[in-house]
Symmetry: C2
Subunit: 325 residues, 2 copies
Amino acid sequence: MSLSRRQSLGALAVSALALPAVAAAQSQGKKITIGISVPAADHGWTAGVIWWAKQAMALYPSIEFMLMPAQNPEKQIGDLETMMVKGVDGLVILATESAPLTPTAKDAKAKGILVVNVDRGFLEPVADVFLEGDNKAFGRKSAQFMVDEFKRRGTAKPKIIVLEGIPCTVNTDRVTAANEVFKAAGVEIVGQASGNWNRQKALEVMETLLVRSPKIDAVWASDDDMALGAEQAIREAGREKEMWMLGGAGMKEIVKKVMDRDPMYPANITYPPSMIATGVQLAVGILRDGQRDKILQFMPKHLLIDVELITPENAKGYYFPESVY
Amino acid sequence: MSLSRRQSLGALAVSALALPAVAAAQSQGKKITIGISVPAADHGWTAGVIWWAKQAMALYPSIEFMLMPAQNPEKQIGDLETMMVKGVDGLVILATESAPLTPTAKDAKAKGILVVNVDRGFLEPVADVFLEGDNKAFGRKSAQFMVDEFKRRGTAKPKIIVLEGIPCTVNTDRVTAANEVFKAAGVEIVGQASGNWNRQKALEVMETLLVRSPKIDAVWASDDDMALGAEQAIREAGREKEMWMLGGAGMKEIVKKVMDRDPMYPANITYPPSMIATGVQLAVGILRDGQRDKILQFMPKHLLIDVELITPENAKGYYFPESVY
């Protein structure tokens, strides 16, 4: 009778009858190596990604990690090739851009390397596990909060500004889902423009939109960097009492404002850069005992992280003052 | 040093590097204990859940598992209380019903026990991690396959039967999403009824629907047990050449038919009972090194498993002949 069969029969499991096959391999000194390849950044969401990757790495001193941030796709392809030459067992990849990285990811997969893809997908379903935020839920939930907030404030016929990000599926999914909610609730979009998920760009487009729109009740800023840029434009126009806004992604400065009940920031919505740490955690769990193939039988190929509304009541649980984001 | 500690860290790194705080506790002989509480069943999707739970348990001989299937909510509440008395560190729960289990889950959480909830959610967001299939995607993707298949077959003005499951959010999410796709594509629903995700019930309602509908191109059966019941009714009526069908959830008998290019089953869609194994894998990973609080900082509270279309081309990867489902 096999171990697994014995285990399955009793309510209390068997302990130490047989070790997984890997135990022997590990005792021979083969250390698991995992490469982490992400876009480079010294601020914003991507900087948060790097910070969180390091948090996860610190939990597993027995694993050998290679963390390489890349300024552009060419650098990232080179980093991945370096990692492959070094003989990594697994790769956790947040792509700078999807298209140029897809062949390299396929190459890694063909070499038998575990590929965990986080946030930005490849053009084909190459990854063993693809983990991303649910951007449709991001749009739907953030818009629904605004509709509810207008009701709470008694705002009749609400007028809003919509700030979009860089044109890509992430932005499209968010904006399309939000627009459906706004439309169904009779919220009027009086101005819409792309701020490229960038503070300075959002400041500039908001300046223009403010001039064009004599009455604005709120701004769906959809990103915390853009929210800060838009806020600056609003304050410079002296209209900060007129409107409030909803950013997004849980930047610590904005979460703090929500926690402190800043009237301009009644809520926020998560899109955690910590998803890279989740990706590292999954890769470690799949590889560490040498039971990769068995675990991949039940590990979903595509996992979506639901986004959550941050309010003054729960903001503490989303506030990480020591994080860079 | 205990066996589990040696195993989890591997031979090399242990010697040189500082150990996490838990190492001391574990070396005193405290073994991690995880309770798994699921609905009882000797066939169908739920039997698959139990089978997959055992697969995951078998991977971790150093963890002490308690697997207790329950026929009803009262039994399940009793099981969970028993597990709490035994001092489990974590619980993986697939609820028989959401409402009666919610207070017990809250109780476990209040006692500091890790709660991983799989598939059927509680009425409040109690769980540390809630992992479920994306039922809206289930409806959308399965309906889109049917629309595409009608085009491939050159079926003009397609007429279909829709079989629904037990009335609950899972069913509502699936049916609503599917209906949107059918409506947009001009697919006519000529009959719709609930087969309760049950083979016998589906057989009965299909008999009635066949009598009422002189022309049917396909059946959106949405569940493999229901597909088998409906197929029996169709064959008994001698109409098996007239229509094809799409079940759902990846029952091995149906996946085999897809793989073998059975004309009645051109495809299937996943809703894997193996998600319980994913839940066990997550619980083990969170608890095994005693770094639970740090891991929960980046572990998403709500994870959705995307569903995947199974076609003759990829069916092999979804076929587990040794599984009970």
